[in-house]
Symmetry: C5
Subunit: 322 residues, 5 copies
């Protein structure tokens, strides 16, 4: 089934009709049309462009991956690039979504199927009372979906940082290497994520502040709400950076502690072993020291070894070296 929809006076009139029929409705000022193109060929886009009067630069941007959210305002239409994001084990999974917005049409262009268009449709169907706002309503649904996705990623990253925090002071810590890998991945993902998140502020404020006739005042609170979400994600991302930094430095420090502890203990044992060796060395000399060749020598040697070893052990223990 084709990804198309036709609204008239806030009511969904048709759905799933072929894209070819779209042009029938485009010139009807009372109709609002949406259709979706999945990885369209340049030729396909050229046809669409001609019918909707799109700017060649916008078409070019829709064909080439861009990697930064943006909004371009042309005389007859808007062009937006936004990114749906998911957090996978390997890192961020970006899916570019290009949007052409005219007075009565919204075209979504996706570069892959990983951006879930059904979720967007479900959002539209959940708020039918706003459908009367036409294109502004459709656009809001898309942005709301995208920004909620960003929010989920921020939440996921926060959870991962919290897991790291829990591991940090747990009694059975993960190996240094595994933990470092996790910290490294979270930081790297956060850096790449910020490049997607921060420009969204500009995209949404541009939509709201410019004298675009597309967003009616009744929709304004809804766009404000999206903006609020964008701000929260931005601030969250910033604080994630600090939280990971905190984990990182504490981890370094704790590892140092642990190693120093081991070293202290090892050194203490080395001292406890070195002393008997020194004593037996003395009694191994080929010179007539007191007790040389007599049982008295054996007893004094053994007594010295035992006494000093135990004394050292007690002292080290008391000073918390062992």
């Amino acid at each position: 089934m084709a990804r198309t929809r036709l609204y008239r006076h806030g009511v969904l009139e048709a759905e799933g009709f072929p894209v070819a029929e779209v042009s029938d409705h485009l010139h009807d000022p009372e109709a609002v049309v949406w259709f979706d193109l999945l990885s369209p060929t340049p030729e396909k886009l050229a046809v669409v462009s001609e019918e909707l009067g799109l700017h060649p630069l916008a078409i070019e941007d829709a064909l080439h991956p861009h990697q930064r959210p943006k909004i371009d305002v042309y005389d007859s239409h808007l062009f937006l690039t936004v990114y749906a994001v998911r957090l996978t084990n390997g890192g961020l999974d970006l899916s570019e979504l290009s949007l052409f917005v005219t007075k009565n049409a919204l075209v979504t262009v996706r570069d892959s199927d990983s951006c879930d268009i059904d979720a967007i449709i479900a959002r539209w169907d959940n708020t039918p009372r706003m459908a009367k706002h036409g294109v502004a309503f459709l656009l809001h649904g898309v942005l709301d979906y995208v920004v909620d996705g960003h929010f989920d990623v921020a939440e996921d990253l926060d959870d991962r940082v919290e897991q790291l925090e829990d591991q940090l002071f747990s009694d059975t810590p993960a190996t240094g290497r595994a933990m470092q890998r996790q910290m490294f991945d979270i930081r790297r993902t956060t850096v790449r994520f910020r490049r997607i998140v921060l420009p969204m502020r500009e995209v949404v404020t541009s939509l709201m502040h410019r004298d675009l006739e597309i967003i009616p005042s009744d929709m304004a609170p809804y766009y404000q709400d999206v903006y609020d979400h964008v701000l929260r994600v931005s601030e969250w991302t910033e604080s994630l950076r600090e939280l990971v930094g905190n984990v990182y430095e504490t981890h370094l420090n704790l590892q140092g502690n642990r190693m120093n502890d081991i070293m202290k203990r090892v050194t203490s044992w080395a001292a406890i072993i070195a002393v008997p060796t020194a004593i037996t060395g003395f009694y191994g000399q080929n010179i007539p020291y007191p007790g040389f060749g007599h049982a008295a020598g054996f007893w004094s040697s053994t007594a010295l070894i035992a006494a000093i070893s135990v004394a050292l052990y007690v002292v080290f223990r008391k000073n918390e070296w062992l």
Copy 2:
């Protein structure tokens, strides 16, 4: 007793009447009504919303936890989300407080009982002369309470940092691990706290700068005062970050010092033990060295051991290694 109040001409007329009676007063332009809802059901909120003409988005925000202070300006009312904070042993204890502000009504919606509504009521009762300002007076009481709570948290955090600072150079320092845990917790709490504190600046300035008819000029200094507190908390939080950083780095460094000191001492003792071992090794050889099998050997060996050990001890002592 229901959490409700009715003011008329700056005088508290009724208190504790059932929420159901609120609607009787709402359409009286001379009455100012406050009521509080604790974890209301969506149905309950829907009723309130209808009577006061609240925006569905604001209702939705009041139902779902949000985790960032904000202010939304709707045509007929304001919606604020603020956070009462307390510092517990485990970290920050947030309690969300949603506020609907209309011309003559203030609705507070709490998600838990941990935000102390009695303290807010006490604040109102302490400044009865301002009650004539109606809703602006009520709202000020709430914000003042919330921001004072932020201030207390900043003060508590500062105290904790000061305790850390005192431990740092004390002669009986806490163990590294315990201190690191404390530093880690303070930093983490500070990061989360900043996410609550910084957006408050925007919330209060929005209230003050926008052409809202709700705040009369006589109340302006009081809101300015709240804003001043918000600023102090913000700046305090920033400097807390630096102070903890200072503690952190100095701690790292001192710990390194202490460990190096131990290592130096251990190495010195190792040297003092190694030398006798080498000498007894010499006298333990099965070859006719001078003194082999004679008392002279014993005396020279013992003299050497004693002399070199004492010499090393003195040298190390002088160089402050022992």
Copy 3:
């Protein structure tokens, strides 16, 4: 003697009269009055407040310590909080100074005697030609004194940093612990100092930019001059932070160097001792090695020990390990 002054037409008419007489002059538009209150009781302040028509919020702020410079503009008067600072061995010594500024009166409220009011009076007496500007002249004297105090503190901190810098590369460095204590204290003081200094920019610009009738245009360059000092202190404080950071990191690094040096030397000596031990071990075996029980054995053992020890010493020396 009471801290009071009465100016008329730029001339100091009376001084040291009791505060009780102040009210006689307050309603004389040609008189300019100053008086000082040291830790006044709330009752005392209430009397003053009534006579001058001060805002209750300002009175409250004057009674409670605040810890952040600020300016509040009320309809009939200004309220300022500024801080006189001194650098003591223990850190910053703050003394809060609250100022009420009306058309023809300046009231200074001090919380302790450590803010030197005589120095302010001396400033006034040094620039009698400006006395004709009345309250603006008096206020300038106070701010000038306070900001000069900030300047002195910045200079003192700079001197302390320079002392640290000199110690850093001196041949007889202070012990690590003492130096760390100093660095720690300077950093901590700098953080707290910045909280006093930075808001001063806002206080002075507010005075200059707002349409306050209190500062006549002839006084403008003098306030500009104060502002310039505030800026210098701010920038100085920022660069202090960097300079201490530089000292801190270099210190860490040098200490590491020194410790590594010691370790290298120790390890070398350990090697030089280990080799003879191994050789004597060989000659201590109860097996007929070449030279067993013969003088030849003794000579070869001694020769080996001497040769290898000297060789190692020379090699280590050449590689700068010893």
Copy 4:
């Protein structure tokens, strides 16, 4: 062939004619002329300057290397300095490009042949439909080429960082020194690159926002597109800095790990060797210990050595020290 072009009414009329003929067309308001000067002598530039009425300061700037992108607006012309960049093994390869822009002429001045003028010409030839915008079209081609070059460098640097990231956790890591060299070079290049990239934002916004009659509204989206690229490069460069920092710190940490691991293992083996030495020391004493001179002594000694060594090995193994 001379680097010259003549456009009339959006059509390329002539190409490759001698620079000497340029002046013939300069006063024809319908002609748009471009010519290129490669390392011109001051005399040569003086001639051009006179014909086009260029400002002496601009001429001076074109003659001396500058090392920072800028735009100067003179009454009759614009002067721009931009930098074509390439990433070589040794670092950044900058090539300065000075641009004089008058109503109907564009002069490009290059300091070396490494800025590829043919690529710019190719760009012009690819978009002939825009040639009717005259100088704005020519200038756009140059800027587009330059900014795309910046983009390529950012991409290359990103690739290099990714290679480092891959090496980081690979099983056969590069030697510390080689990797540090790479990190050092990337960081250094990034710092120098930012000095070229960041001022470009100002250059392009100046072109777009100032009331310059040179850029017609039809060209605006194209300049907006260039600006968008500039922003992407700037943000990319910023995030590169963070990514390298992440690699750097993780590398430090991993190296520390590896070294600590080695130390732990070494210490364990040292302990395993020290114990037999202590035991044989005991049995080497010249005193009648149990088993002295008997086979029983041999067996007990050997059994002790074997038992303790194996026990230590097992314990260390279990604690993951070996």
Copy 5:
């Protein structure tokens, strides 16, 4: 020869006449006068001040060292403080230059002879065609000289950083201490330099943006050019900070590498020596081990020592420990 000049209609009429004659020309609106005062006494300045109508605050600023560039705009004149800087071995050599700028006079006040006034005169003489702009021309010459000096310092610092960078990976690195001294000095100088450089932006923009009648539009590009230099120096200084940071961290890391390498090698040799010691200990026991007192014992002992030592050597070599 006195440092004085008189211009009329853009032509240098007189030079080197005594300062006393200056007042003759001051009231001639067609004359432009410059004179220089080297460390003037307060009395001397008082005379000048009276003749030119200078503000007492400006006079005071000219007499006391200030250490921050600034511009003060008085009704009848401007007052500037700028700093000529040179880089010496000991650090920055500042020389304060105070400037009084009236409609037709420029007074330069120097606190020492190290600011080279001849270089400024040479600049004036090199651009005689601009002399018709009077005071604006003179002031430009001074600022241009000062800012060029800043530029030279930035360049020198950059060179020093580059020398450090080269030493970093050279095969014969400077000793850690010497290199740290250099890094420390560069950082410290950079911090102090920034305090001179950054406020210059404000000084020059103030000159350009304020409605001062002193700078005619023809001179605007020249001041813009100075501003451009100021910006370049500022950005350069910022990037210097990062470059030194890069050197610093890499140096730390490399030194750690080198030390770890040494430790690894030392530990390996220690192990190679410890094993023979253990074996000879075994053969030194006074118990009838196999080969006790026989040649077979000698051969087996020697074989074991040789075999294990060689084996260890080979293994360590293969693992790149030796």
